[in-house]
């Protein structure tokens, strides 16, 4: 399966290369107010991912053609810094970052009370300054914290986690090697208060049972990460 099956990433005790059990999430720290000139911001360090998100607005939407008479628009820009990966990335937009910006905006539009700010724009900049695996999940999660830090009304935070499969074992929150050599990847965006979903992608190969396991891992991890997000927002980080 996957063509990389000979790379052994789970030891005889069922532990992963970084010592985690299959259902464990990488260490996470969350800090708000890290971009002093922004209305709201968040730095999230998740494994060796480091993501900085800044929120500006609500502000005037221009050009006028992007305005909506009955609601605000979200302008999401996901970007990987040139030095965020092993091989340098050429600066500028590419198809991958455009797609991630779009699905992130789609997810956040489902929770932000956009109708409170007709004809305005809320800008969300997501900068990946160090990438490991799962940057889209960290970006989306950090963006919801930054929106809350900016005081923008939302129905819920969004917690995004990806589970996948390596060596035929379903594991939660893939790291870099697991993502490179793994056999499947299922990123989800969960609303922790209701268990509803606003973001879902998947690629690879999962049996119905494996899919159920990956889904459950994501749900459990989301609840765990949600506690850290609330803690960070309530008082000076963690």
């Amino acid at each position: 399966m996957g063509g990389y099956g000979d790379v052994q990433m789970i030891d005889e005790n069922g532990l992963r290369m970084d010592g985690r059990k299959p259902g464990d999430v990488r260490p996470i720290t969350i800090e708000t107010g890290v971009v002093p000139v922004a209305d709201g911001s968040c730095r999230m360090i998740w494994g060796t991912n480091e993501v900085i998100v800044a929120v500006y607005g609500p502000m005037e939407a221009h050009p006028r053609k992007i305005q909506r008479q009955d609601r605000a628009v979200l302008d999401v820009a996901y970007n990987m810094a040139p030095f965020s990966t092993t091989d340098r990335i050429r600066p500028g937009f590419n198809r991958r970052s455009r797609e991630i910006s779009k699905v992130t905006a789609d997810a956040l539009e489902s929770v932000v009370l956009l109708e409170l700010y007709p004809r305005s724009k809320i800008r969300i900049g997501i900068e990946i300054v160090s990438a490991e695996a799962g940057t889209r999940c960290v970006g989306l999660t950090a963006a919801s914290v930054a929106l809350a830090d900016a005081g923008i009304p939302m129905t819920d935070l969004v917690v995004s986690v990806a589970s996948g499969k390596i060596n035929d074992v379903v594991v939660c929150d893939l790291n870099k090697e697991e993502d490179n050599y793994g056999e499947a990847d299922l990123p989800m965006g969960v609303l922790p208060n209701t268990g509803e979903l606003v973001f879902l992608q998947m690629d690879g190969d999962l049996s119905p049972d494996e899919f159920k396991q990956a889904w459950d891992y994501n749900m459990d991890a989301a609840m765990e990460v949600h506690k850290l997000m609330v803690e960070a927002l309530k008082g000076g980080g963690n």
Binding site: P36, V37, A77, A81, F83, T86, R88, P91, G125, E127
Partner: protein
């Protein structure tokens, strides 16, 4: 970048402050904000630095690539300095292709570092005419409260000094620190309320006029100059700035040499 509105009230206020030798944040004409420099802070970069000056925060990261030397310089590697100010850094910065402002930023910082000769491009050659290292310094703004130029230049030279050539990953020998023989430092001055001030904040830049950037190397050698924006200045004003720059560059060089 949209054309910012400059309130006349702000310009008038800045002029009043200048008359009383004061500034928006109570600094005097030649006072800089506190500078904090951290290095080795980015997991994936071969060298990195973060500079915090008041509410201005920037990152610099160094990456290496293998390049084919230019035909007219077969024994030399290359140094490239690129700068991006993305919408995260302030509400006045917008997405899209690099603006003239951010291109100027990158090029002025690049000239100061390149012309100081702090990196010996001959040492970057691996096989003459075939293979050489290209050092790429990427500057990334996180929060723009003015004077990105100085913050970028400081983060840039600090990141280069922190850099390791990743030879093992490219299977050409052992990792080694990048040799950086000099420490060029930039100081920038903005005309605000009719006089030059050092280390302007964003609101001072907004309500100010022309700016002058000076990069000095070790022994106070001048490596790059740039006058930006509309405005006229006198030789006497330039002399005064240059005197201050010499003293301030020495202080900042101490921080980098740490």
């Amino acid at each position: 970048m949209s054309v910012p509105l400059v309130p006349n009230l702000l310009r008038a206020h800045l002029s009043d402050l200048a008359l009383n030798d004061s500034r928006l944040d109570d600094r005097s004409q030649w006072d800089g904000r506190d500078v904090k420099l951290e290095t080795g802070i980015l997991a994936r970069a071969e060298g990195s630095a973060r500079v915090t000056m008041g509410d201005t925060i920037v990152l610099a990261g160094v990456k290496f690539q293998i390049m084919t030397p230019y035909p007219d310089r077969p024994n030399q590697g290359g140094l490239m300095c690129s700068c991006e100010v993305r919408p995260i850094a302030g509400r006045h910065w917008e997405a899209g292709p690099p603006s003239p402002q951010s291109i100027e930023l990158g090029r002025v910082v690049d000239r100061g570092i390149r012309e100081s000769g702090c990196i010996d491009v001959d040492e970057l050659c691996i096989i003459p005419g075939e293979k050489a290292w290209q050092v790429i310094l990427d500057l990334h703004a996180i929060s723009d409260d003015g004077n990105l130029f100085d913050a970028f230049a400081l983060a840039g030279i600090a990141a280069l000094r922190d850099a390791t050539i990743p030879a093992e990953r490219f299977e050409i020998g052992e990792d080694a620190p990048l040799k950086v023989s000099k420490t060029p430092i930039m100081c920038s001055y903005h005309k605000v309320g009719g006089r030059f001030v050092y280390d302007a904040s964003y609101r001072e830049e907004l309500g100010g006029d022309e700016r002058i950037h000076i990069t000095l190397g070790d022994d106070d050698h001048v490596h790059s100059l740039q006058k930006g924006l509309k405005g006229i200045f006198t030789a006497e004003e330039f002399d005064e700035i240059m005197e201050h720059a010499k003293a301030r560059c020495a202080e900042l060089r101490e921080i980098v040499n740490g």
